[in-house]
Protein backbone atom coordinates (compact mmCIF):
# COMPACT_ATOMS: atom_id res chain seq x y z
CA UNK A 1 0.00 0.00 0.00
CA UNK A 2 1.16 3.51 -0.58
CA UNK A 3 0.52 7.17 0.13
CA UNK A 4 -2.07 8.38 2.63
CA UNK A 5 -2.13 9.50 6.24
CA UNK A 6 -1.36 6.75 8.81
CA UNK A 7 -4.95 6.64 10.12
CA UNK A 8 -6.65 6.64 6.72
CA UNK A 9 -4.22 4.22 5.11
CA UNK A 10 -2.17 2.01 7.45
CA UNK A 11 -4.63 1.64 10.31
CA UNK A 12 -7.64 1.38 8.00
CA UNK A 13 -6.20 -1.37 5.76
CA UNK A 14 -4.93 -3.25 8.84
CA UNK A 15 -8.41 -3.26 10.37
CA UNK A 16 -10.32 -3.99 7.15
CA UNK A 17 -8.10 -6.66 5.59
CA UNK A 18 -4.88 -7.16 7.56
CA UNK A 19 -3.81 -10.04 9.76
CA UNK A 20 -2.53 -7.71 12.47
CA UNK A 21 1.25 -8.17 12.49
CA UNK A 22 2.66 -9.30 15.84
CA UNK A 23 -0.83 -9.00 17.40
CA UNK A 24 -1.45 -12.30 15.60
CA UNK A 25 0.82 -14.28 13.26
CA UNK A 26 0.69 -11.73 10.44
CA UNK A 27 4.43 -11.13 10.61
CA UNK A 28 5.12 -14.86 10.31
CA UNK A 29 2.82 -15.32 7.30
CA UNK A 30 4.34 -12.28 5.61
CA UNK A 31 7.82 -13.71 6.19
CA UNK A 32 6.86 -16.88 4.30
CA UNK A 33 5.60 -14.76 1.40
CA UNK A 34 8.60 -12.48 1.18
CA UNK A 35 11.28 -15.11 1.49
CA UNK A 36 9.45 -18.19 0.22
CA UNK A 37 7.15 -16.70 -2.44
CA UNK A 38 4.28 -18.59 -0.79
CA UNK A 39 0.74 -17.63 -1.74
CA UNK A 40 -1.49 -16.60 1.16
CA UNK A 41 -3.22 -19.94 1.79
CA UNK A 42 0.03 -21.92 1.65
CA UNK A 43 1.80 -19.38 3.89
CA UNK A 44 -0.98 -19.48 6.49
CA UNK A 45 -1.00 -23.28 6.49
CA UNK A 46 2.78 -23.46 6.82
CA UNK A 47 2.72 -21.14 9.82
CA UNK A 48 -0.25 -22.89 11.43
CA UNK A 49 1.44 -26.28 11.04
CA UNK A 50 4.69 -25.03 12.54
CA UNK A 51 2.80 -23.50 15.46
CA UNK A 52 0.71 -26.68 15.88
CA UNK A 53 -2.51 -24.72 15.68
CA UNK A 54 -5.26 -23.99 13.16
CA UNK A 55 -5.30 -21.51 10.26
CA UNK A 56 -8.22 -19.72 11.96
CA UNK A 57 -6.29 -19.33 15.21
CA UNK A 58 -3.24 -17.67 13.65
CA UNK A 59 -5.39 -14.62 12.80
CA UNK A 60 -6.95 -14.45 16.27
CA UNK A 61 -5.26 -11.87 18.51
CA UNK A 62 -6.37 -13.48 21.78
CA UNK A 63 -5.17 -16.97 20.90
CA UNK A 64 -1.98 -15.70 19.29
CA UNK A 65 -1.11 -13.37 22.15
CA UNK A 66 -1.03 -16.37 24.48
CA UNK A 67 0.73 -18.60 21.97
CA UNK A 68 3.36 -15.96 21.22
CA UNK A 69 3.95 -15.58 24.95
CA UNK A 70 4.33 -19.36 25.38
CA UNK A 71 6.68 -19.60 22.39
CA UNK A 72 8.54 -16.41 23.42
CA UNK A 73 8.57 -14.97 19.91
CA UNK A 74 7.64 -11.39 20.77
CA UNK A 75 4.26 -9.72 21.21
CA UNK A 76 2.74 -6.25 21.53
CA UNK A 77 2.70 -6.01 25.30
CA UNK A 78 6.24 -6.76 26.32
CA UNK A 79 7.13 -8.09 29.74
CA UNK A 80 10.57 -7.98 31.38
CA UNK A 81 12.94 -10.69 30.24
CA UNK A 82 11.01 -11.89 27.20
CA UNK A 83 12.28 -11.95 23.61
CA UNK A 84 11.81 -8.56 21.93
CA UNK A 85 13.76 -7.94 18.73
CA UNK A 86 16.62 -9.99 17.33
CA UNK A 87 16.21 -12.61 20.07
CA UNK A 88 12.59 -13.14 19.01
CA UNK A 89 13.77 -13.51 15.41
CA UNK A 90 16.32 -16.17 16.41
CA UNK A 91 13.42 -18.15 17.85
CA UNK A 92 11.17 -17.47 14.84
CA UNK A 93 13.87 -18.72 12.45
CA UNK A 94 14.07 -21.96 14.42
CA UNK A 95 10.30 -22.28 14.78
CA UNK A 96 9.45 -21.70 11.10
CA UNK A 97 12.58 -23.43 9.86
CA UNK A 98 13.57 -20.39 7.77
CA UNK A 99 16.71 -18.35 7.26
CA UNK A 100 16.41 -14.78 8.53
CA UNK A 101 19.08 -12.51 7.09
CA UNK A 102 19.62 -10.38 10.20
CA UNK A 103 19.85 -13.48 12.39
CA UNK A 104 22.50 -14.98 10.14
CA UNK A 105 24.48 -11.72 10.12
CA UNK A 106 24.23 -11.50 13.90
CA UNK A 107 25.54 -15.06 14.30
CA UNK A 108 28.37 -14.38 11.88
CA UNK A 109 29.39 -11.26 13.80
CA UNK A 110 29.47 -12.83 17.26
CA UNK A 111 31.27 -15.94 16.03
CA UNK A 112 33.96 -13.93 14.26
CA UNK A 113 37.48 -14.40 15.72
CA UNK A 114 38.52 -11.83 18.33
Amino acid sequence: MGVGDPCGMHAAHAIVSGMGGIRTAGDLVARMQLNGSMKIDAAKKHVADKLHTSVADIADPVVMNELREDLDIGRINEAPGVAKGIDAKFRIARLLDVDINSVNIFKEKIERDI
Partner: protein, 348 residues
Amino acid sequence: MGKIKTRMGDGFKVEMTESEVRKALEEGTQDAAERGRVEPLTPDDLQQIFEIFACPYRIVGVEEGNEVVLTYDSLNTKIKRAQISASKIQSLQICERGLGADTLELAHIDYSYKPVKPIIPFEKPIMEQAVLMTIPSLLYGAMPNMGLYSRPDGPCPNPADLLPQGKIAEARASYEEAADYATADMVYVGSQMYEAGADGINFDTTAAAGDAEFFATLKAVEILRKKYPAMGIQMGMAAEFVLGMHGELEYKGVRLAGLYPHEQVKLAEAAGVNIFGPAVNIVTNETLPWNIARSVTWTKACTDVAEIPVHACLGMGVGGVPLALTPPIDALSRASKAHVEICRLDGL
Protein backbone atom coordinates in the same frame (compact mmCIF):
# COMPACT_ATOMS: atom_id res chain seq x y z
CA MET B 1 -33.84 1.38 -1.12
CA GLY B 2 -32.75 5.00 -1.13
CA LYS B 3 -29.75 6.38 -2.86
CA ILE B 4 -26.29 4.88 -2.33
CA LYS B 5 -23.73 7.25 -0.85
CA THR B 6 -20.31 6.94 -2.40
CA ARG B 7 -17.57 9.21 -3.75
CA MET B 8 -15.91 10.37 -6.92
CA GLY B 9 -12.31 9.42 -7.69
CA ASP B 10 -11.14 12.68 -6.13
CA GLY B 11 -12.81 11.77 -2.84
CA PHE B 12 -15.77 14.14 -2.91
CA LYS B 13 -19.13 12.64 -1.97
CA VAL B 14 -21.81 11.73 -4.48
CA GLU B 15 -25.16 9.95 -4.24
CA MET B 16 -26.19 7.39 -6.87
CA THR B 17 -29.27 5.29 -7.54
CA GLU B 18 -28.96 1.50 -7.59
CA SER B 19 -29.20 1.46 -11.37
CA GLU B 20 -26.52 4.14 -11.66
CA VAL B 21 -24.17 2.08 -9.48
CA ARG B 22 -24.83 -1.07 -11.52
CA LYS B 23 -24.23 0.85 -14.76
CA ALA B 24 -20.97 2.29 -13.42
CA LEU B 25 -19.76 -1.17 -12.38
CA GLU B 26 -20.56 -2.58 -15.81
CA GLU B 27 -18.84 0.30 -17.62
CA GLY B 28 -15.78 0.15 -15.37
CA THR B 29 -15.15 -3.53 -15.97
CA GLN B 30 -15.80 -3.19 -19.71
CA ASP B 31 -13.30 -0.34 -19.95
CA ALA B 32 -10.59 -2.47 -18.33
CA ALA B 33 -11.48 -5.55 -20.36
CA GLU B 34 -11.30 -3.71 -23.66
CA ARG B 35 -8.09 -1.81 -22.91
CA GLY B 36 -6.22 -4.77 -21.38
CA ARG B 37 -7.77 -7.51 -23.51
CA VAL B 38 -8.78 -9.44 -20.39
CA GLU B 39 -12.03 -11.01 -19.26
CA PRO B 40 -14.57 -8.61 -17.71
CA LEU B 41 -15.84 -9.40 -14.22
CA THR B 42 -18.58 -12.02 -13.97
CA PRO B 43 -22.13 -11.09 -12.97
CA ASP B 44 -21.44 -12.66 -9.55
CA ASP B 45 -18.34 -10.48 -9.11
CA LEU B 46 -20.29 -7.35 -10.07
CA GLN B 47 -23.09 -8.29 -7.66
CA GLN B 48 -20.51 -8.74 -4.89
CA ILE B 49 -19.10 -5.25 -5.52
CA PHE B 50 -22.63 -3.83 -5.71
CA GLU B 51 -23.43 -5.28 -2.28
CA ILE B 52 -20.23 -3.76 -0.87
CA PHE B 53 -21.37 -0.33 -2.06
CA ALA B 54 -24.99 -0.91 -1.01
CA CYS B 55 -23.92 -1.75 2.56
CA PRO B 56 -25.05 1.25 4.63
CA TYR B 57 -22.29 0.93 7.21
CA ARG B 58 -19.42 3.38 7.27
CA ILE B 59 -16.75 0.67 7.27
CA VAL B 60 -16.80 -2.78 5.67
CA GLY B 61 -14.24 -5.56 6.15
CA VAL B 62 -13.20 -8.92 4.77
CA GLU B 63 -14.88 -12.05 6.06
CA GLU B 64 -13.08 -13.90 8.86
CA GLY B 65 -10.53 -16.21 7.25
CA ASN B 66 -9.93 -13.89 4.29
CA GLU B 67 -7.37 -11.71 6.05
CA VAL B 68 -4.19 -10.95 4.11
CA VAL B 69 -0.79 -9.53 4.99
CA LEU B 70 0.28 -5.99 4.32
CA THR B 71 3.45 -4.51 2.86
CA TYR B 72 4.07 -0.77 2.99
CA ASP B 73 5.75 1.55 0.56
CA SER B 74 7.96 4.05 2.36
CA LEU B 75 6.54 3.10 5.75
CA ASN B 76 8.50 5.28 8.15
CA THR B 77 8.20 8.38 5.99
CA LYS B 78 4.42 8.40 6.50
CA ILE B 79 5.17 9.23 10.12
CA LYS B 80 7.71 11.85 9.02
CA ARG B 81 5.29 13.40 6.52
CA ALA B 82 2.73 13.75 9.30
CA GLN B 83 5.42 15.77 11.15
CA ILE B 84 5.36 13.39 14.10
CA SER B 85 8.58 13.96 16.01
CA ALA B 86 9.96 10.44 15.90
CA SER B 87 13.16 8.89 14.58
CA LYS B 88 13.09 6.36 11.77
CA ILE B 89 13.39 3.45 14.19
CA GLN B 90 10.71 4.90 16.46
CA SER B 91 8.49 5.27 13.41
CA LEU B 92 8.98 1.61 12.56
CA GLN B 93 8.09 0.69 16.14
CA ILE B 94 4.94 2.83 15.99
CA CYS B 95 3.86 0.84 12.94
CA GLU B 96 4.95 -2.52 14.37
CA ARG B 97 3.35 -2.08 17.78
CA GLY B 98 0.72 0.58 17.24
CA LEU B 99 -0.70 -0.06 13.79
CA GLY B 100 -0.52 -3.87 13.46
CA ALA B 101 1.97 -3.85 10.58
CA ASP B 102 2.69 -7.31 9.13
CA THR B 103 5.95 -6.08 7.57
CA LEU B 104 8.11 -2.99 7.94
CA GLU B 105 9.96 -0.83 5.45
CA LEU B 106 12.80 1.58 6.10
CA ALA B 107 13.06 4.47 3.65
CA HIS B 108 14.66 7.85 3.01
CA ILE B 109 12.33 10.85 2.78
CA ASP B 110 13.62 11.49 -0.77
CA TYR B 111 12.19 8.10 -1.80
CA SER B 112 14.31 7.22 -4.85
CA TYR B 113 17.36 4.98 -5.22
CA LYS B 114 19.57 7.70 -6.70
CA PRO B 115 19.45 10.11 -3.70
CA VAL B 116 19.91 7.19 -1.29
CA LYS B 117 23.27 6.30 -2.81
CA PRO B 118 25.25 9.22 -1.28
CA ILE B 119 23.70 8.72 2.18
CA ILE B 120 24.30 4.96 2.39
CA PRO B 121 26.83 5.42 5.26
CA PHE B 122 24.01 7.02 7.28
CA GLU B 123 21.20 4.67 6.22
CA LYS B 124 23.08 1.43 6.85
CA PRO B 125 23.60 1.92 10.60
CA ILE B 126 19.90 2.68 10.97
CA MET B 127 19.06 -0.58 9.21
CA GLU B 128 21.62 -2.42 11.35
CA GLN B 129 20.01 -1.09 14.53
CA ALA B 130 16.43 -1.47 13.30
CA VAL B 131 16.80 -5.20 12.63
CA LEU B 132 17.98 -5.67 16.21
CA MET B 133 14.90 -3.96 17.65
CA THR B 134 11.98 -5.13 15.49
CA ILE B 135 10.37 -8.48 14.74
CA PRO B 136 8.51 -8.44 11.36
CA SER B 137 10.32 -8.66 8.03
CA LEU B 138 12.07 -5.36 7.38
CA LEU B 139 12.53 -4.18 3.79
CA TYR B 140 14.42 -1.23 2.41
CA GLY B 141 12.43 0.60 -0.21
CA ALA B 142 12.67 3.37 -2.79
CA MET B 143 11.53 4.19 -6.31
CA PRO B 144 13.64 3.51 -9.43
CA ASN B 145 12.62 7.05 -10.58
CA MET B 146 14.61 7.05 -13.80
CA GLY B 147 13.69 10.65 -14.54
CA LEU B 148 16.43 11.70 -12.10
CA TYR B 149 19.09 10.53 -14.56
CA SER B 150 18.14 13.07 -17.27
CA ARG B 151 19.44 16.64 -17.48
CA PRO B 152 19.25 18.93 -15.58
CA ASP B 153 18.99 16.44 -12.67
CA GLY B 154 21.28 13.77 -14.11
CA PRO B 155 23.98 13.02 -16.68
CA CYS B 156 21.88 11.86 -19.67
CA PRO B 157 20.46 14.04 -22.45
CA ASN B 158 16.80 14.69 -21.71
CA PRO B 159 14.55 12.61 -24.01
CA ALA B 160 11.78 15.19 -23.48
CA ASP B 161 14.04 17.71 -25.23
CA LEU B 162 15.18 15.30 -27.96
CA LEU B 163 11.80 13.88 -28.96
CA PRO B 164 10.21 17.19 -30.05
CA GLN B 165 13.26 17.73 -32.28
CA GLY B 166 12.61 14.43 -34.00
CA LYS B 167 15.79 12.91 -32.53
CA ILE B 168 14.19 9.52 -31.89
CA ALA B 169 17.39 7.45 -31.98
CA GLU B 170 19.17 9.88 -29.64
CA ALA B 171 16.23 9.82 -27.22
CA ARG B 172 16.21 6.03 -27.20
CA ALA B 173 19.98 5.97 -26.61
CA SER B 174 19.50 8.35 -23.69
CA TYR B 175 16.82 6.13 -22.14
CA GLU B 176 19.15 3.14 -22.45
CA GLU B 177 22.02 5.05 -20.83
CA ALA B 178 19.76 6.22 -17.99
CA ALA B 179 18.50 2.66 -17.49
CA ASP B 180 22.07 1.45 -16.99
CA TYR B 181 22.72 4.14 -14.36
CA ALA B 182 19.44 3.32 -12.59
CA THR B 183 20.17 -0.41 -12.54
CA ALA B 184 23.61 0.21 -11.07
CA ASP B 185 22.20 2.41 -8.28
CA MET B 186 19.42 -0.06 -7.44
CA VAL B 187 21.90 -2.92 -7.24
CA TYR B 188 24.29 -0.86 -5.10
CA VAL B 189 21.65 0.28 -2.58
CA GLY B 190 19.95 -3.11 -2.55
CA SER B 191 23.26 -4.87 -1.86
CA GLN B 192 24.26 -2.46 0.89
CA MET B 193 20.94 -2.78 2.68
CA TYR B 194 20.77 -6.55 2.41
CA GLU B 195 24.28 -6.79 3.81
CA ALA B 196 23.13 -4.54 6.68
CA GLY B 197 20.47 -7.11 7.57
CA ALA B 198 17.36 -6.16 5.59
CA ASP B 199 15.01 -9.03 4.80
CA GLY B 200 14.36 -7.63 1.38
CA ILE B 201 14.20 -4.77 -1.07
CA ASN B 202 11.15 -2.99 -2.43
CA PHE B 203 11.11 -1.40 -5.89
CA ASP B 204 8.12 0.91 -5.59
CA THR B 205 6.35 2.78 -8.39
CA THR B 206 8.26 0.82 -11.01
CA ALA B 207 7.99 1.98 -14.64
CA ALA B 208 6.79 5.48 -13.72
CA ALA B 209 9.15 6.73 -16.44
CA GLY B 210 8.01 4.06 -18.87
CA ASP B 211 9.40 0.92 -20.46
CA ALA B 212 13.09 1.80 -19.98
CA GLU B 213 12.54 2.13 -16.23
CA PHE B 214 10.74 -1.23 -16.15
CA PHE B 215 13.70 -2.72 -18.03
CA ALA B 216 16.20 -1.15 -15.60
CA THR B 217 14.33 -2.53 -12.60
CA LEU B 218 13.94 -6.03 -14.03
CA LYS B 219 17.70 -6.08 -14.69
CA ALA B 220 18.38 -4.91 -11.11
CA VAL B 221 16.14 -7.69 -9.76
CA GLU B 222 17.91 -10.25 -11.95
CA ILE B 223 21.35 -9.16 -10.71
CA LEU B 224 20.31 -9.05 -7.04
CA ARG B 225 18.58 -12.45 -7.26
CA LYS B 226 21.78 -14.00 -8.65
CA LYS B 227 23.93 -12.26 -6.05
CA TYR B 228 21.67 -13.00 -3.04
CA PRO B 229 19.47 -16.06 -3.73
CA ALA B 230 17.60 -15.71 -0.40
CA MET B 231 16.85 -11.98 -0.66
CA GLY B 232 13.19 -10.98 -0.52
CA ILE B 233 12.33 -8.80 -3.51
CA GLN B 234 9.10 -6.86 -3.94
CA MET B 235 8.17 -4.93 -7.08
CA GLY B 236 5.24 -2.53 -7.10
CA MET B 237 4.18 -0.84 -10.31
CA ALA B 238 3.37 2.79 -11.09
CA ALA B 239 0.37 2.24 -13.35
CA GLU B 240 -1.74 -0.39 -15.09
CA PHE B 241 -0.05 0.26 -18.42
CA VAL B 242 3.69 0.44 -19.18
CA LEU B 243 4.25 3.61 -21.19
CA GLY B 244 6.29 3.06 -24.33
CA MET B 245 8.59 6.04 -23.92
CA HIS B 246 11.38 4.08 -25.65
CA GLY B 247 9.06 1.74 -27.48
CA GLU B 248 11.42 -1.02 -28.54
CA LEU B 249 12.89 -2.41 -25.33
CA GLU B 250 12.36 -6.08 -24.63
CA TYR B 251 13.00 -8.29 -21.60
CA LYS B 252 13.42 -12.00 -22.24
CA GLY B 253 11.96 -11.53 -25.71
CA VAL B 254 8.85 -9.62 -24.55
CA ARG B 255 8.29 -6.02 -25.64
CA LEU B 256 7.76 -3.95 -22.50
CA ALA B 257 5.73 -1.07 -23.91
CA GLY B 258 2.01 -1.51 -23.43
CA LEU B 259 2.06 -4.37 -20.92
CA TYR B 260 -0.85 -4.69 -18.47
CA PRO B 261 -0.65 -6.24 -14.96
CA HIS B 262 -1.30 -9.85 -16.05
CA GLU B 263 1.67 -9.53 -18.43
CA GLN B 264 3.88 -7.46 -16.11
CA VAL B 265 3.73 -10.11 -13.37
CA LYS B 266 5.11 -12.83 -15.63
CA LEU B 267 8.26 -10.78 -16.33
CA ALA B 268 8.60 -9.96 -12.63
CA GLU B 269 8.49 -13.70 -11.88
CA ALA B 270 11.07 -14.41 -14.58
CA ALA B 271 13.43 -11.80 -13.13
CA GLY B 272 13.18 -13.22 -9.60
CA VAL B 273 10.60 -11.09 -7.78
CA ASN B 274 8.96 -12.64 -4.68
CA ILE B 275 5.97 -10.29 -4.30
CA PHE B 276 4.37 -8.33 -7.14
CA GLY B 277 2.20 -5.24 -6.76
CA PRO B 278 -0.07 -4.28 -9.65
CA ALA B 279 -1.18 -0.64 -9.65
CA VAL B 280 -4.27 0.78 -11.33
CA ASN B 281 -4.52 4.56 -11.27
CA ILE B 282 -7.76 6.24 -10.27
CA VAL B 283 -9.76 8.34 -12.72
CA THR B 284 -10.78 11.30 -10.59
CA ASN B 285 -13.83 12.36 -12.58
CA GLU B 286 -15.38 8.89 -12.48
CA THR B 287 -17.21 7.36 -9.49
CA LEU B 288 -15.71 4.82 -7.10
CA PRO B 289 -17.99 1.99 -8.33
CA TRP B 290 -16.61 2.61 -11.84
CA ASN B 291 -13.02 2.84 -10.59
CA ILE B 292 -13.17 -0.19 -8.33
CA ALA B 293 -14.78 -2.40 -10.98
CA ARG B 294 -12.07 -1.31 -13.42
CA SER B 295 -9.22 -1.89 -10.97
CA VAL B 296 -10.55 -5.24 -9.77
CA THR B 297 -10.81 -6.43 -13.39
CA TRP B 298 -7.12 -5.87 -14.09
CA THR B 299 -5.99 -7.04 -10.66
CA LYS B 300 -8.03 -10.25 -10.93
CA ALA B 301 -6.52 -10.96 -14.36
CA CYS B 302 -3.12 -10.59 -12.69
CA THR B 303 -3.82 -12.90 -9.72
CA ASP B 304 -5.34 -15.48 -12.09
CA VAL B 305 -1.96 -16.04 -13.76
CA ALA B 306 0.47 -15.15 -10.96
CA GLU B 307 2.60 -17.88 -9.42
CA ILE B 308 4.06 -15.51 -6.81
CA PRO B 309 2.15 -13.60 -4.11
CA VAL B 310 0.31 -10.51 -5.37
CA HIS B 311 0.03 -7.47 -3.10
CA ALA B 312 -2.14 -5.00 -5.01
CA CYS B 313 -1.20 -1.34 -4.62
CA LEU B 314 -4.07 0.31 -2.74
CA GLY B 315 -2.51 3.56 -1.66
CA MET B 316 -3.93 7.00 -2.25
CA GLY B 317 -4.98 7.33 -5.92
CA VAL B 318 -4.56 3.69 -6.91
CA GLY B 319 -6.70 0.56 -6.68
CA GLY B 320 -9.95 2.47 -6.30
CA VAL B 321 -8.73 4.52 -3.33
CA PRO B 322 -9.60 8.21 -3.90
CA LEU B 323 -6.89 10.68 -4.81
CA ALA B 324 -6.96 12.40 -1.43
CA LEU B 325 -4.11 12.64 1.09
CA THR B 326 -6.49 11.68 3.88
CA PRO B 327 -8.28 8.68 2.32
CA PRO B 328 -11.87 8.42 3.62
CA ILE B 329 -12.29 5.14 5.48
CA ASP B 330 -15.70 4.39 3.89
CA ALA B 331 -14.05 4.49 0.47
CA LEU B 332 -10.79 2.78 1.41
CA SER B 333 -12.52 -0.07 3.23
CA ARG B 334 -14.70 -0.79 0.17
CA ALA B 335 -11.69 -0.79 -2.17
CA SER B 336 -9.75 -3.01 0.26
CA LYS B 337 -12.53 -5.61 0.69
CA ALA B 338 -13.44 -5.74 -3.01
CA HIS B 339 -9.85 -6.31 -4.14
CA VAL B 340 -8.94 -8.83 -1.45
CA GLU B 341 -12.02 -11.01 -1.81
CA ILE B 342 -12.77 -10.87 -5.54
CA CYS B 343 -9.16 -11.01 -6.73
CA ARG B 344 -8.12 -13.58 -4.08
CA LEU B 345 -5.18 -11.40 -3.21
CA ASP B 346 -2.21 -12.51 -1.13
CA GLY B 347 -1.77 -9.08 0.38
CA LEU B 348 -2.00 -5.35 -0.08
